[in-house]
């Protein structure tokens, strides 16, 4: 079912960094039904000093389409008043932002669940792949998918 045109669904895949506060303000401006906003930001870790950078590859077109499908499902399921998901690609160093999810709802549980749902699906269904560049210059490698991420998604299917 299509999401109501009045509920903002903001999806962007971009190389540039994002500003969580500005995105939150833009998403929620003039909507007085919103009583709760949950903002999640995923960052690049340094893995105890061993990681120099991550390289994020994506499937242009499908990445946006898949994130939009996930966000629209979240609006429908949790009756959100707004959702935004911004995912970066390219090279990121420790401390840099990778992904932003903002879920707005009348009450907190829907906002927490909405943001969590979007992240759990995004990690296993949105076509992005991380390659690690090691700090010691040794050969870089692709990050393996984690079973824990599959389990996190499956909990929403029960």
């Amino acid at each position: 079912m299509a999401v109501s045109a009045e509920i903002p669904v903001v999806v962007r895949v971009q190389r540039a960094d994002f500003d969580a506060a500005a995105e939150t303000a833009a998403l929620t401006a003039r909507n007085r039904q919103i009583g709760a906003i949950v903002t999640f930001t995923g960052l690049c870790r340094d893995e105890g000093g061993s990681l120099a950078a991550l390289e994020l590859e994506h499937y242009p077109g499908m990445a946006e389409a898949e994130i939009r499908r996930i966000c629209e499902a979240a609006v429908e399921r949790f009756s959100l008043q707004g959702i935004a998901a911004i995912h970066r690609f390219g090279r990121m160093e420790p401390g840099e932002n990778i992904v932003l999810v903002i879920a707005a709802a009348p009450h907190r549980h829907a906002a927490f669940d909405g943001a969590s749902f979007v992240m759990d699906y995004l990690k296993t269904s949105a076509p992005f792949w991380k390659k690690e560049h090691r700090a010691d210059g040794s050969e870089s490698g692709w990050v393996d998918a984690k079973d824990a991420d599959d389990r996190a998604r499956e909990k929403w299917q029960r």
């Binding site: 296993t124 792949w129 692709w142």
Partner: protein, 84 residues
């Protein structure tokens, strides 16, 4: 002609990002496509060795390996996703 696109280590192992292929008539499903590609050369054999971990998208939507590829404009092959 069908356009194939590859990502992450599938792309690296096959050695190209995309290609256009004429697929034989017996290639009807995504699973058939994986088997067919593996006959095209060692690089495909290496990339697609563990068929069950390879994810397939037809026209930018995820599909199971049993899905028909009939009428597909673009088929993508890639490893399990690790974004977020």
């Amino acid at each position: 002609m069908t356009r194939l696109v590859y990502f992450a280590w599938v792309r690296e192992r096959i050695g190209r990002e995309e290609e256009e292929l004429e697929l034989p008539g017996h290639v009807k499903t995504a699973a058939d496509l994986l088997k067919h590609l593996k006959t095209l050369g060692e690089e495909y054999e290496v990339a697609l060795e563990h068929e069950n971990v390879i994810r397939v998208a037809i026209d930018q939507e995820h599909v199971e390996h049993g899905e028909s590829i009939e009428g597909a404009r673009e088929i993508a092959l890639f490893p399990p996703m690790t974004g977020g």
